[in-house]
């Protein structure tokens, strides 16, 4: 009975860092800054611990924007450690570390193989009872449009793996425009080791199509745990596929509904509520992990008036207070931001009346409904929001000068607008 095991990881983005603001205490800041590197080191440790036979790195191992020598060095050290354990590494370059930009700073040991961008290459691994073939092709540049799978035709082994860096979005995508149906036309492939998507996904089991997601989340766009797939083959078949968390830090969004909070009158009360919520989270949390939190205040409560009056300064005050308390308690939690998404404080009876009698308000209501449904209107609004906002949600090409607006964000802003209009137009004042 031949047992072979391997790790499938991608999108490590070595060099990039966890995004956070403010000044976390020293015991956290260093860990946060090193989190991406640590996740790579964790992967190396896991490979050694499990004594895997090889590791697949399916692109974007480095971050183009934040490629650093340190990143290269840490990667190199990991590869060297693996070399001592006789663990092989097969890597393809993705859009973030495409070969045009790829600069090898350190010469890699023999256990490391980087697939070229010219054509699909394959590597055959001979095990006692069966063979494993690993096929892959790197990105030559930021975009990869060569999607002809005929190029991939090769003699397959007992167990064949194809490494691709693709979003599986099909035609039009600049990132290897393929879709699931298309890749499944190659029936001899047993494992599609994909990269590019930042959340772990096991799309299909037979053949296996898997995205490991990022090793370490870096902002609130990458919620959840980061890690890799640990795959075990017994006699040419997948016996076990397991997701291994390797991240030392997790982004979490916590929604706090204030509607039923009867003892909430002041900011101090609100701080208490949030603190209890954090304590609850921390009790259930993995204490080896650091948590970066976004706390979203929701519901309808008189406090929202105070929040609205105090604006961002009020929220900043609450955040600072909470972070101070967390630091004093030496908890591995950092509140990155507090968002006020409470619904308006306008009296419901008045709102009902407006609904019934005020055509202008009715107009507002119908507009709000229409805004989310009517693409044209939505686009018109997005235009109004100015250049600083963009609807581009492509994580790969994000522009730090702009903010991305998704439906949630839009909804939030619309809600705020509605609140403003109600208070200023329909409150009965002059």
């Amino acid at each position: 009975m031949q047992k072979v095991s391997f790790i499938h990881a991608a999108d490590i983005h070595l060099g990039s860092m966890v995004h956070f603001t403010g000044s976390p205490p020293n015991y956290l800041e260093e860990k946060i800054n090193e989190a991406v590197f640590n996740s790579w080191n964790n992967l190396v440790e896991l490979a050694i611990l499990k004594q895997v036979d090889f590791i697949l790195l399916a692109g974007d191992i480095f971050d183009r924007e934040q490629r650093s020598i340190k990143a290269a060095d840490i990667f190199y050290q990991g590869i060297n450690k693996l070399a001592k354990e006789n663990i092989k590494i097969f890597m393809i370059a993705g859009n973030h570390d495409h070969l045009q930009d790829y600069q090898s700073i350190l010469s890699m040991p023999d256990n490391f193989y980087l697939f070229s961008a010219e054509k699909f290459e394959s590597k055959l691994l001979m095990f006692k009872d069966f063979t494993v073939k690993i096929i892959g092709r790197s990105y030559a540049s930021r975009e990869e449009t060569r999607n002809n799978l005929k190029d991939l035709q090769t003699e397959f082994a007992n167990f064949s793996i194809v490494m691709l860096h693709t979003d599986l979005a099909g035609q039009g995508s600049p990132y290897l425009p393929l879709n699931k149906k298309e890749i499944l036309t190659l029936s001899n492939v047993d494992y599609w080791a994909l990269g590019h998507r930042h959340l772990p996904q096991l799309i299909d089991k037979k053949p296996t199509i898997a995205y490991p997601g990022v090793l370490q989340a870096r902002d609130f766009g990458e919620l959840g745990k980061g890690g890799c797939w640990l795959v075990e083959l017994i006699d040419k078949e997948i016996n076990k596929i397991e997701f291994k968390n390797l991240a030392s830090l997790e982004f979490k969004k916590i929604i706090i509904k204030l509607t039923d909070e009867s003892d909430l009158e002041t900011f101090s009360d609100l701080i208490d509520i949030l603190q209890k919520r954090i304590e609850r989270l921390y009790l259930q949390a993995d204490h080896n992990s650091i948590y970066l939190l976004e706390m979203i205040l929701k519901g309808q409560h008189p406090i929202s008036k105070l929040l609205s009056e105090q604006g961002s300064e009020g929220l900043q005050f609450i955040k600072d207070e909470l972070n101070n308390q967390l630091s004093q308690a030496q908890l591995s939690v950092w509140i990155e931001r507090i968002v006020d998404q409470c619904i308006n404080e306008f009296p419901i009876s008045k709102l009902e009346e407006l609904k019934d009698n005020n055509p202008l308000y009715q107009e507002l209501e119908s507009l709000l409904v229409k805004l989310l449904a009517d693409k044209e209107l939505k686009n018109e609004l997005l235009q109004e929001m100015g250049e600083i906002w963009t609807t581009r949600t492509n994580l790969e090409e994000s522009n730090p000068l702009q903010f991305e607006v998704d439906d949630d964000q839009l909804q939030y802003m619309i809600e705020q607008s509605k609140r403003y209009i109600l208070n200023n137009l329909f409150s009965g004042g002059k």
């Binding site: 603001t21 403010g22 600069q103 055509p359 202008l360 009715q362 906002w389 702009q402």
Partner: protein, 923 residues
């Protein structure tokens, strides 16, 4: 809601007036001028809001008091009262609890009610004189529909929002304007830094290459320096060791000749062996000499024959000499033993003589039975004799005592007691008198007095004794008699004992014979004699054993002595001092055996001499063999071991010096990379002067390269620092920090901007929609009404572009547009505004009473008819108060509907009446 009843007190003309049972639909209040119609209008217009102290409100004499009964759509009954300028109070049914007036009037405010529901002629124009511009605008909003009031705020609100948004993010929310600007700059700084960091990779590689070539250069320079160091070191060494090297070379030459090298190369082991053998031979010869001298001192001849003679006996003499002490001891012991045996025999013989009648043979004696049993019997017998003798003696003694006693009894004088004491006293006085004569002291007087005292005491004692004696004399006679009887008995007993004693003695003599004992021997010692014989028997046995042993000792010693004597005989002639007695002499004087030592010493020496001679011979052969080992060598140095050793020593001395110099030089080369060969090779090229010159030059060269090396190392270090700097992700970290922090601060601003812009956008959209509606939908009811009123003459009413302007354009059935109201007749304008108002009243959900205050006067009959139709229609939902002084209107209403109450108002008093009467009254 409609008014069922109203009571008015102290309000203008109305002192105490009531309108009871008002009609739900239409109430016509007819009255001539100054009858109170306008006052009633004022009362009704403010019913829901209270009265204001202004020109329109008539002054009260005391205080206004209005009470009304109101009925809502669900037929619930309410009571309303207003006192003075106070607010209206509303109560449901008879309940005391006040409820809000809003319950009935909802959101219709005073202005709206008074300007929309209260229709007076002066209001049916575009700009009523009693209203200011704002009020006109508000009225317009009311006319165009609910919401227009809010709508009016829109532009301002939007403008405020846009202004404030512009302050934040400019007109278009560009990323690098207004309040966004500093954050944008910071982000851009971050991006630039990020790009720099990316370029770091290329810089890193470039630096790495530069460092690499510098390292090579460093190594090359270092190599040059090393070479120079070596050279300098070599030259320094030459300089230091110059004299030594010179000597070294000379020695090397001396030692390098073929002969020298042959000798030096000759195996040292053999040379050592030759040396050793030579030494050994000398030692042997010396010893031979010594031994020969020694032997010669003691012997007459030392030829080979003599030596052989000696050595032949080596073993025997050795053995004999070894045993010598033992035998000397043995002989002494033997002699002593011999004496003892003789003594012992003499003792035995004497005992035999003493005991026996004749001296029997030892063997005979040994045959006598004298064992313990015999001894016991004899002992018993002798004891019996002894006992009987004692017994006999005792009896005889007793007889003698008895006889004496009897004699004593006969002559006894009882004075013996005093005799003793008197004797002691006499002695005392004599001794005292002697002492007194010598001393003559007081003591003498005391002693004398004591003697006298003692004499007295003696006399006293004598007296007592005499008394006793008298008593005893009596008993003596009795005792004497008793003694006589006892004496006879004892004599008989004595005779018996003597007979038995004789028997025993007879038996004892028989035993005496058996033991060969002399007759004279006492019977009393018979037992001891028997024991003695036993003892003698043992002694004889012992003596015989000892005697036999002595014989065998004698034999053994003689054997040894014979050998000694024989041996001595052999050396008799050879050794000067050797004297050897015969065996008997030796027995007597074993000391002579010490002569063996003399022989032995000589034998040993002779033996040693022979073996030394042998050894010398073999050594010589061996030495010869050693010397002869190499023919070549033999040729060179001959066979003289002395010469060999001398040459060898001399050359070795040179060689030692050579080696010492070599070692000295090598010591100086220690820790240097130069070997001796190299040093010698270099030495050949220099004389002492040129050497120091070359050293100086090399040193200068080295200094130059060292300086270069320092510069290169500095450069490498700089590169290293730069590389290390590049190796950190500080730039990336800083860039991330700059971007993240700027974005965190920028985001709320961007959100605020977006919210403001979104709000403005929404407001704009609302405005547009509202306007669109205003144009298309809002005036639809008014249009229809106006169409009806004007009998389809006008088709459309269009509000002004600025809705807040109370301006409308009309389009007639021909499509002609009437942009300005000035183009219309007064009647048409009034119809238009009436139509607009009525349509709005219909649209308003809250159904409140409508008051028409003689506002239809300018309509011709045709139009009036149609207006009345519309009003009757309106009255279905809104209670209608028609205040008029025009019979035509009253007639028209009454003709067209029965849902009507007619009231005559006259001097502030209401009278419900039939319309005919009313017409009559006001005609």
């Amino acid at each position: 809601m409609f008014i069922r009843r109203i009571d008015i007190r102290d309000f203008g003309l109305f002192r105490q007036s009531s309108l009871i049972d008002l009609h739900q639909n239409i109430n016509i209040i007819g009255g001539l001028n100054r009858a109170g119609k306008s006052t009633l209008k004022t009362v009704l217009a403010s019913l829901g809001y209270g009265y204001q102290n202004n020109e329109q409100t008539p002054a009260a004499k005391k205080q206004y008091q209005i009470d009304a009964v109101l009925i809502d759509v669900k037929s619930a009954k309410y009571h309303l009262d207003i006192t003075g300028f106070g607010k209206p109070h509303l109560y449901k049914n008879e309940e005391k609890k006040e409820i809000s007036i809003q319950k009935l009037f909802k959101n219709i405010d005073r202005f709206t009610y008074q300007n929309l529901f209260v229709i007076t002629l002066d209001k049916l124009i575009s700009n009523p004189a009693h209203l200011n511009e704002k009020e006109i605008s508000k009225l317009q909003a009311i006319l165009l529909g609910a919401g227009l009031n809010d709508f009016r705020k829109l532009p301002l609100l939007r403008s405020d929002l846009l202004q404030s948004a512009t302050r934040i993010g400019g007109k278009f929310g560009k990323v690098d304007v207004a309040e966004f600007k500093p954050y944008n700059k910071q982000i851009k700084r971050g991006i630039t830094l990020q790009k720099t960091a990316q370029q770091d990779l290329s810089t890193f590689n470039k630096l790495k290459e530069e460092k690499k070539s510098l390292v090579i250069k460093k190594e090359e320079t270092q190599a040059k320096i090393n070479k120079l160091n070596q050279k300098i070191s070599l030259l320094d060494l030459l300089d230091i060791n110059y004299e030594l090297l010179d000597e070294y070379l000379i020695l090397q030459e001396n030692l390098s000749g073929e002969k020298a090298s042959n000798i030096l190369n000759y195996p040292a082991q053999t040379i050592e062996k030759i040396k050793k053998s030579d030494l050994e031979l000398i030692t042997i010869e010396q010893e031979i000499e010594e031994i020969t001298t020694k032997i010669k001192a003691d012997v007459s001849s030392l030829d080979n024959e003599s030596l052989v003679k000696f050595t032949d006996e080596l073993n025997s003499i050795n053995e004999l000499t070894k045993q010598k002490d033992v035998y000397q001891e043995r002989i002494n012991l033997f002699n002593k033993q011999e004496e003892r045996i003789l003594d012992k025999k003499a003792t035995i013989d004497k005992s035999l003589d003493d005991l026996f009648i004749t001296s029997p043979e030892y063997d005979q004696i040994k045959e006598i039975r004298c064992n313990k049993q015999v001894q016991a019997i004899i002992k018993k017998l002798i004891n019996n004799i002894k006992d009987y003798k004692i017994k006999n003696n005792n009896i005889e003694e007793e007889i003698r005592v008895l006889e004496k006693e009897i004699d004593l009894k006969d002559n006894q004088e009882l004075v013996f007691a005093s005799k003793q004491i008197t004797f002691y006293i006499a002695i005392f006085i004599i001794i005292a008198s002697i002492f007194g004569t010598i001393l003559w002291t007081d003591t003498f007087i005391w002693i004398l007095l004591s003697g006298v005292l003692l004499l007295g005491i003696d006399r006293l004692l004598i007296y007592r004794q005499n008394v006793k004696v008298e008593k005893l004399a009596q008993s003596l006679a009795e005792e004497k008699n008793n003694l006589q009887i006892r004496l006879i008995r004892l004599k008989e007993e004595s005779q018996t004992v003597k007979n038995e004693l004789r028997d025993f003695e007879k038996q004892a003599h028989a035993y005496q014979d058996q033991l060969y004992l002399v007759e004279k021997s006492s019977l009393a010692s018979l037992a001891e004699d028997c024991q003695e014989i036993k003892y003698l028997q043992e002694m004889i046995t012992d003596w015989q054993a000892e005697y036999n042993n002595q014989l065998s000792r004698n034999k053994e010693i003689k054997k040894y002595l014979t050998r000694v004597v024989n041996l001595a005989n052999k050396f008799q002639d050879l050794i000067y001092e050797l004297y050897l007695p015969d065996i008997d002499e030796l027995f007597e004087y074993p000391k002579y055996l010490d002569q063996l030592d003399l022989i032995n010493n000589l034998v040993v020496l002779a033996d040693r001499l022979i073996s030394l001679k042998e050894e010398k011979k073999s050594k010589k052969i061996k030495l010869e063999q050693l010397i002869n080992i190499d023919e070549q060598l033999s040729k060179e140095i001959g066979l003289s071991s002395k010469k060999i050793i001398d040459d060898y020593n001399r050359l070795n001395k040179l060689n030692d010096r050579f080696k010492q110099i070599e070692s000295q030089i090598k010591q100086s080369l220690k820790k240097k990379t130069i070997n001796l060969a190299k040093l010698l090779e270099t030495f050949a090229g220099y004389d002492k002067n040129s050497l120091s010159e070359t050293i100086k030059k090399a040193q200068a060269s080295k200094d130059k390269f060292s300086q270069e090396l320092i510069t290169i190392i500095e450069k490498i270090e700089n590169k290293k620092i730069k590389l290390a700097e590049l190796s950190t992700d500080q730039n990336l970290y800083k860039s991330k920090q700059l971007i993240d922090e700027a974005r965190a601060d920028l985001r709320p601003l961007a959100e605020e901007y977006a919210v403001k812009k979104t709000t403005a956008f929404l407001l704009k959209k609302m405005e547009e929609k509202f306007l669109e509606k205003a144009y298309t939908e809002l005036l639809t009811g008014a249009k229809n009404l106006f169409k009806n009123i004007t009998a389809n003459h006008y088709h459309d009413i269009i509000p002004d572009d600025d809705l807040s302007n109370a301006k409308f354009s009309l389009i007639d059935r021909e499509g002609d547009s009437y942009q300005s109201l000035n183009m219309l007749s007064r009647g048409t304008e009034e119809q238009l505004f009436l139509a607009v108002r009525l349509s709005r009243i219909q649209e308003v959900e809250t159904k409140l009473p409508v008051i028409i205050d003689d506002s239809l006067v300018n309509f011709d009959y045709q139009h009036l008819q149609r207006v009345v139709d519309e009003l009757i229609s309106l009255a279905k939902t809104n209670q209608l108060f028609v205040l008029t002084c025009h019979p035509t209107l009253i007639k028209l209403f009454n003709k067209k509907t029965a849902r009507i109450n007619n009231w005559l108002l006259k001097k502030g008093k209401f009278t419900k009446t039939k319309y005919h009467n009313l017409i009559e009254e006001i005609t």
